[in-house]
């Protein structure tokens, strides 16, 4: 992938990711998250992971974000009114996040393979849906079924939680 495109999509992802946290209006946050996920999906495709890039758009930018926006509209949430900002708590939170970021930078800077470029890809990843599917149904068959049970449990849990009266 050309470095130019990488920088565009990386900046798009990071800037709109930051906008999610900074925005006061929940609808604006949700829409920033959509743009951030689209940038991320482009980064996945730049890594020749087309299947992952596409389910990123379908599941996140499609289903999950519609769910978020639906809940925001349903609850009729407005932008938070200006509360008095607790500057001490704000500085503490930012300091902890920055400390985490610096640690990640240090780890990556000491990690030798991180300085290498990606090796060329002799095979074609056009049919990676088939390859991932074959792996899912052979090596990862048991985890796949467990995930299916998890989704079932989540569905039942959501229905139960949404009932007005629990008895």
């Amino acid at each position: 992938m050309s470095p130019f495109l990488f920088w565009i999509f990386a900046l798009l992802t990071v800037i709109f990711g930051a906008a999610v946290v900074v925005n006061r209006n929940p609808v604006a946050s949700a829409l920033s998250l959509v743009v951030s996920f689209l940038g991320l999906s482009a980064l996945f495709m730049s890594l020749d992971a087309f299947f992952v890039g596409i389910i990123q758009v379908l599941v996140y930018a499609g289903a999950v974000m519609v769910l978020f926006l639906f809940i925001i509209m349903l609850l009729n949430l407005r932008a938070e009114e200006e509360r008095r900002i607790n500057w001490l708590a704000l500085a503490g939170g930012v300091a902890v996040a920055l400390a985490l970021l610096i640690q990640i930078f240090l780890v990556i800077s000491r990690f030798d393979p991180a300085r290498k470029t990606f090796p060329p890809l002799p095979g074609s990843t056009i049919d990676d849906v088939r390859n991932i599917g074959a792996l899912l149904f052979s090596n990862y068959n048991l985890p796949f079924q467990i995930v299916g049970v998890l989704v079932l449990v989540a569905t039942i849990g959501v229905v139960l939680l949404s009932k007005r009266e629990l008895r």
Binding site: V64, F68, L75, L101, A114, Y140
Partner: protein
């Protein structure tokens, strides 16, 4: 040239943004969105490593991409349950602010 480190650093920045969101914001919906950001940052490093380890068949290491598939499934289930809890909470308390929900706080 774009190296593996570039992708890892983007992933690290994204994870820190999500972490800051969980620490700093008091709106439960924004906290859930920040959780999604963190999960996606992890996905980005997984895919970058998958592309970095080209196997003998000349294809990327698909184990990582299967893992990303599982992460996305679990994240979708988590969002559904989280938002259902949020709606139930809003019905009981008419708020989504974590400052107003402190019954379990010691």
């Amino acid at each position: 040239m774009i190296t593996l480190g570039h992708y890892l650093i983007v992933s690290g920045i994204l994870f820190s943004i999500g972490f800051a969101g969980v620490m700093l914001r008091r709106n439960l919906i924004i906290i859930l969105m920040s959780l999604e950001l963190m999960l996606n940052a992890a996905n980005l490093s997984l895919v970058a490593f998958s592309r970095f380890r080209v196997g003998p068949s000349g294809l990327p290491n698909y184990n990582a991409q299967v893992f990303v598939f599982f992460v996305i499934t679990v994240a979708a289930a988590e969002v559904a349950v989280g938002l259902a809890i949020l709606v139930a909470l809003f019905r009981a308390r008419q708020t989504t602010d974590v400052k107003d929900i402190s019954t379990l706080k010691f």
